[in-house]
Amino acid sequence: MSDFPEFTVRVDQNPYLPAGGREMHAIVSVEARSSGGPGPVAAAAGRAPAAEIIMIDTSGSMSYRGKMAAAKRAARAAVNVLRDGVHFAVVAGANRPRMVYPQGERLVRADAASRRGAVDAVGRLEAAGGTAIGSWLRLADRLFTGHDAVAEGAVKHAILLTDGKNQHESDEELDAALRLCAGRFLCDARGVGTDWDVAELRKITSALLGGFLDVPDPADLEADFLAMTRAAMGKQVADVALRVWTPQQARLRFIKQMVPAVEDLTGRRSESGAQTGDYPLGAWGEENREYHLCVEVQPGDVGRQMRAAWVKLVAGDQVLASGNVIAEWTDDEARSTRINGRVAHHTGQSELAEAIQQGLEARREGDEDTATARLGRAVVLAREVGNQQISGLLDKVVDVVDPARGTVRLKRDVAKADEMSLDTRSVRTVRTRHGDEAGG
């Protein structure tokens, strides 16, 4: 068993509600720091056992524009940063998945020899055939399941690279595979080129508690794979959940991850007690994440105080950290109308992601009025929350006439890559400073 990192939970909110008020918002920030202190030895000691599967799309289209060569470089780079003792495999995906390394359906322990073997095998990959991602994920699940007996509590992580849509199996087949794999392993994905489907990768990585990014230029793949693999190698605890207690008669309206990216967790609830539900958060290394929680409570009398939610970070039965969301009713309007700066910021980021996705969807459907209105709103919000990356991406899709009022014109010629990039990164948020309580 590894040593868990030290977790801390911090709650930002304005606890004051007006008389009769029922909706309480709070930002829950979770930070994990290595308990072993700095230094590579301590860090290594704190790591959980890990298993890593690298899945490379080898469909026919990968042979164009240098994608296959870039994918091989990326996969080799990833294999080379696997630390000794990690169990791994490399899988090639097409109509059917195929073991690249090792031979036979199993994982192999990483050491100098197995890394060299994997690098050689990756070098012999060739592109042919179609795309059936559900079948790739099922193979990954079989490999991880076979490994479970070896290392209980291991961080199980997969990297998925594709350049196309899931055309060689039905949506139902993919959905069934996702249902099978959800909760069994984590998966981060990369879409290379411009022929893949943003919504599809979003669905896959959302179900498998991972993230995805667009890599329009194959040359950038290698750096991306390195970063993903290093992050996976840094995980110290495999399965963390956010356990949320709410008062009887209360309703958790939503809980969303906000940092590093917007992800609605509300539907992932599994009941864990009379008034508690667990939301899986996947594996954790040294990192910070932030969650926006909204709970609807029964109003209390002015002057009364209520615990509106009690959040606990749990790994199995172990509580790693906890925090309280408080509600207090007041007739002091100055207090009840004050908006917590961080709640406002994250509300803006949520709305920004929504506006972009709706705007782009409308644009694809030819509804230019809606597209103009939604993307115009996105321009305003991106400025408000200070998300400069999104502002820059919006500039490639619309001409901004008045950035303060959100007056925009849709650009006639938009590069496919720019649109996909905006769609993909719409959920990537910017952090707020912890001391930032401004907003009223």
Binding site: P247, Q249, Q298
Partner: protein, 376 residues
């Protein structure tokens, strides 16, 4: 027939006058939300909570605090059971079903339970009385008082927990009780009240400094106490809780605040107006607590020439009524009992906004003799 006539009558939790359950304000004293219907009658579910006077205004000495009786007669604020919540471990007074956790919140409905300190009253015979109230803007009462009759007089302590330091609710209660213990024991044994006062403050300081707390914000409170006997009035204080002398012949403040504004004015560095307008005006320069440094309580003694009242109070009262003449106008007008005077002062603070916890102790000078002056 008018249905309202059959509405059960409740009692205002500030002044004790009958009010209809649905009244949003008490007609007698103007307190908003006078009955707080969701809270059960204090004194049943919360064993040490306040006692209300009987309707009709017939004042009775309250029962002694229902725990081991002490000698001499003693009355003080309630003692919550372990944990913060008044009903910790017991059933929730709001939903009836949930258990109350050690932190005072119901494990079922989530509501923080009343601590029993929302409104507390006590009397020490006819010598004195005290009232402590949450006020209208705070969710907890961090003020506390302790009050006891002496063989030939009365003594009282008022403490105001520093709201920014967690644990101060406990600090003020323990400080008041510890100081009262020392005062009653020493004065009853014949000690000079001034010396007893110093010992009492020192003991209270020790108790607060010994409370667990984080080093950056230890539990803390202010302190003001008085001994009133036939020989005169002795007051002692640390911080900005105050003592006043109120009499028809003239009224004055008996203490000087240990606060930033006070020291600016004293040094002649600023005008009173400017000093009080400054953000730092209320910053304490002395208090009880682990981070307070060596304790040097102020002690002063007086011998008034005529009868009057000694008032000890937290800043929840004097913030709104700083002038001795303002306090005298409220305290000396109306029914004469010290409890009536304390309630009138509380009411005045609530009428002025009730922004903070309010605690007032009113002690009579000279202490009434064994034969009643007034045939009640």
């Amino acid at each position: 027939m008018n249905a309202d006539q059959h509405t059960p009558v409740a009692l205002c939790r500030t002044c004790g006058e009958p009010v209809n359950e649905r009244d949003r304000f008490c007609e007698e004293c103007g307190r908003p939300d006078p009955t707080t219907p969701k809270t059960p009658p204090l004194g049943t579910a919360l064993p040490h909570a306040s006692r209300r006077p009987a309707p009709g205004g017939a004042l009775q000495a309250p029962d002694p605090v229902p725990r081991q009786a002490r000698s001499p007669e003693r009355a003080s604020g309630p003692t919550p059971p372990p944990g913060e919540g008044g009903a910790a471990g017991g059933p929730c007074v709001d939903c009836g079903g949930g258990a109350v956790g050690a932190d005072g919140y119901c494990e079922q409905c989530g509501l923080r339970q009343p601590s029993g300190r929302e409104h507390v009253e006590a009397e020490a015979g006819r010598f004195g009385a005290a009232v402590s109230d949450l006020g209208l803007r705070r969710s907890r009462n961090e003020d506390a008082f302790a009050l006891a009759a002496l063989p030939a007089g009365v003594c009282a302590v008022v403490c105001d927990g520093v709201a920014t330091a967690p644990g101060s609710e406990e600090a003020s209660r323990l400080a008041a009780e510890a100081a009262l213990d020392v005062l009653t024991a020493r004065v009853t044994a014949g000690a000079d009240p001034r010396g007893a006062m110093r010992d009492a403050a020192a003991r209270a300081g020790e108790v607060v400094a010994g409370l667990p707390g984080d080093p950056d914000s230890s539990p803390a409170c202010t302190f003001v106490s008085a001994v009133v006997d036939a020989a005169g009035i002795t007051v002692g204080w640390v911080g900005d809780s105050r003592a006043y002398w109120l009499s028809p012949a003239g009224s004055c403040r008996l203490t000087t605040d240990d606060s930033w504004a006070s020291s600016m004015i004293e040094q002649g560095a600023m005008s009173a107006e400017d000093a009080w307008a400054d953000r730092r005006a209320h910053v304490l320069t002395a208090w009880l607590g682990a981070d307070a440094g060596p304790l040097d309580p102020h002690v002063a003694a007086f011998r008034p020439t005529g009868p009057g009242l000694v008032v000890l109070c937290s800043d929840g009262l004097w913030n709104d009524l700083p002038e001795p003449s303002d306090l005298a106008a409220v305290a000396l007008t109306g029914r004469e009992g010290p409890l009536d005077a304390a309630r009138r002062l509380l009411r005045a603070a609530l009428d002025a906004g009730g922004h903070d916890n309010v605690t007032v102790a009113v002690l009579r000078y000279p202490p009434p003799g064994p034969s009643r002056e007034r045939g009640r």
